[in-house]
């Protein structure tokens, strides 16, 4: 049964990729044919062009910054939600979820004015900041759940053993919460990685990320280019997931069920 489930999931995930790979090397692929009629290296050329590499680097820089900053902001926020019972806690939780419920485009249209006024638009920094609006709630919620299962007495014990507040946090709290932090970083990385609308609005077309290039290719009905860029978009997150699942092997408690290998 488990094998059947595994094969089904693998088929659902891998089958579309086969189509992408074929399309990326096809000059034309008329309707009834099983395989493309003519091959081309145009897709490969596009993917290896300097424009694509720049977009890849921009995407990696933005997604990595968003992942790290979300977790740094989400850690104290999650601590308060997870450890303390205070008046208005539900309201805070609701506010944290609000950017998830309200479409990002609505929030961004309002924010855009200020970003332009503060000179943050059309910059990578601006794109990172606007994406944080979307990702911090996820990070805070994941880390809040992790803090609910965290024994604060571990920190008190570290304090008694001679660790100051900072070292108690970095040497005890952060390592103990490492699986949740990894999950939070991974999730926010993936959200940022596939983000399109906010990047376009705040980046003003000046900040070229992979999704922007991909959407442009789709918009111009260039299936070969779209397929080739699609593969480029898929590759880094897959590598990241594999890497993190290897790093966390044997550590229980990761929220995304991918640790068991």
């Amino acid at each position: 049964m488990r094998r059947f489930v595994a094969i089904t999931i693998a088929a659902i995930v891998i089958a579309p990729l086969v189509g992408l790979i074929l399309w990326s090397g096809a000059r034309s692929w008329p309707y009834p044919d099983l395989l493309p009629a003519e091959g081309t290296t145009r897709g490969l050329d596009l993917v290896t062009s300097s424009g694509s590499w720049e977009a890849l680097v921009t995407s990696v820089v933005i997604a990595t910054s968003v992942a790290i900053l979300s977790s740094i902001i989400g850690l104290p926020a999650g601590r308060v939600i997870g450890l303390h019972r205070f008046r208005g806690r539900r309201l805070v939780q609701l506010c944290l979820i609000a950017p998830v419920i309200v479409p990002g485009i609505a929030v961004t249209l309002g924010l855009q004015v200020f970003f332009i006024r503060w000179g943050l638009s059309e910059s990578i920094l601006g794109v990172v900041l606007v994406q944080l609006v979307l990702t911090v709630p996820y990070a805070a919620t994941i880390l809040g759940a992790a803090f609910e299962g965290f024994d604060v007495d571990l920190e008190r014990q570290a304090r008694v053993l001679g660790a100051g507040a900072w070292r108690a946090t970095t040497l005890v709290t952060v390592p103990v919460l490492a699986p949740a932090l990894a999950a939070s970083a991974l999730l926010t990385f993936l959200i940022s990685w596939s983000e399109y609308i906010l990047t376009l609005l705040i980046g003003g077309g000046q900040v070229q990320t992979l999704p922007l290039m991909l959407f442009a290719a789709i918009g111009s009905s260039d299936s070969t280019a779209a397929a080739a860029l699609g593969l480029l978009v898929v590759a880094p997150p897959v590598l990241l997931v594999v890497l993190i699942s290897r790093l966390l092997r044997g550590r229980a408690g990761l929220l995304i069920g991918m640790v068991r290998s």
Partner: protein, 346 residues
């Protein structure tokens, strides 16, 4: 001699209630004191104020002559072992024990030596490479002890460290703690709610009730001559007999007992531990009872009897004592093992 630890006027309120109320305590160097009391009496709060984890509302904490009241916990020469082992799950046993030394930037080689020595002392040699989740409950708490002691603290605080272990293991751990205390000479404060544990382990007992010191003294003194009725009650199964105290003793159900009633006069309570009651009576102070029940309790007979005026008395007598339910007996109530309290103090 300068006290190892001294608290003066230590006070902590939670809302309207005084968790700890103007506590004054002095602990001599090398002492082993048990802070005994029911749950909620403020003993854990006291310990955490001494460790610096809870700021007191009033009062001072002095360690070895220096004022520590406003010093943060990591800068106090005090180690605290909690009820839970609280081992850091991402570190090995060795790394856990060495954690405090690492915080003091002690060289690695020195840490390794100290940790190995500590492992031997708590009899965990060979388990240094294990992770906390691979240890049993007793082993975990021994690692916690080692982690606290390796710092050579001026004061070791233990907050009911064995309450989550089973009975035989608890006794073994008491022996170990006592042994470690005797070999290191560290001034130790052991918090517990279990009077047997307090008596077994400590040289001195401080009984806390409602945030205040109810009684203080050696285990023998508190058990045999409790200074207050509440002490007698907390230390367990004392008989309480109502009567009248007068200058010459205590009048119980029409019979005068030549006990020392101190300054107590009028309506009063006499307490005596069940095992102090004699049969046959050897002491001069005697009293008649009607045997009501006899139960074999392993190493002794647990019997109850009624006085002439119908008050119930529990006796613990050697197995084989001549007891027949419904028959009258005359028991001895040794004057030096009776305590008399005014009824109002209950």
């Amino acid at each position: 001699m300068r006290p190892a630890l001294q608290v003066s006027g230590l006070t902590k309120r939670f809302g309207q209630t005084h968790a700890v109320d103007a506590l004054d305590l002095t602990f001599a160097p090398g002492s082993f004191t048990s802070l005994l009391g029911p749950s909620g009496c403020g003993k854990s709060t006291t310990l955490q104020m001494i460790a610096g984890l809870i700021p007191p509302d009033l009062g001072t904490v002095t360690v070895d002559g220096s004022d520590m009241t406003h010093v943060s916990p990591e800068r106090r020469p005090i180690s605290l072992v909690f009820q839970k082992p609280l081992l850091f799950p991402h570190l090995t046993v060795e790394q856990n024990i060495g954690f405090g030394l690492r915080m003091q930037h002690v060289p690695r080689a020195v840490i390794a030596d100290s940790v190995a020595e500590m492992l031997e002392q708590v009899r965990l040699t060979g388990l240094g490479g294990r992770r906390p989740h691979e240890l049993s409950g007793g082993q975990e708490q021994r690692v916690a002890l080692a982690r606290a002691l390796v710092l050579r603290p001026a004061v070791l605080l233990l907050d009911e460290p064995f309450s989550q272990l089973d009975a035989t293991l608890r006794i073994e751990m008491r022996r170990l703690v006592r042994e470690l205390h005797d070999s290191t000479g560290v001034s130790t404060v052991f918090v517990t709610h279990d009077q047997d544990e307090a008596v077994d382990i400590a040289d001195e007992i401080v009984l806390m009730l409602d945030g205040r010191v109810e009684a203080q003294g050696s285990p023998e003194r508190l058990f045999e001559a409790p200074p207050t009725l509440a002490t007698a009650r907390f230390l367990g199964v004392a008989n309480e007999l109502f009567g009248h105290a007068h200058a010459g003793g205590f009048r119980l159900a029409g019979t005068d007992l030549a006990t020392d009633s101190g300054a107590v006069r009028g309506e009063a309570v006499l307490t005596i531990r069940p095992e102090a009651v004699e049969l046959p009576a050897r002491s001069a102070t005697r009293h008649a009872l009607i045997v009501e029940s006899v139960r074999f309790a392993g190493t002794f007979l647990a019997a109850t009897g009624r006085t002439v005026d119908g008050q119930l008395m529990t006796l613990h007598l050697p197995v084989g004592a001549p007891l027949v339910v419904g028959e009258a007996i005359e028991v001895g109530l040794p004057a030096d093992r009776c305590s008399v309290f005014a009824r109002g103090t209950a």
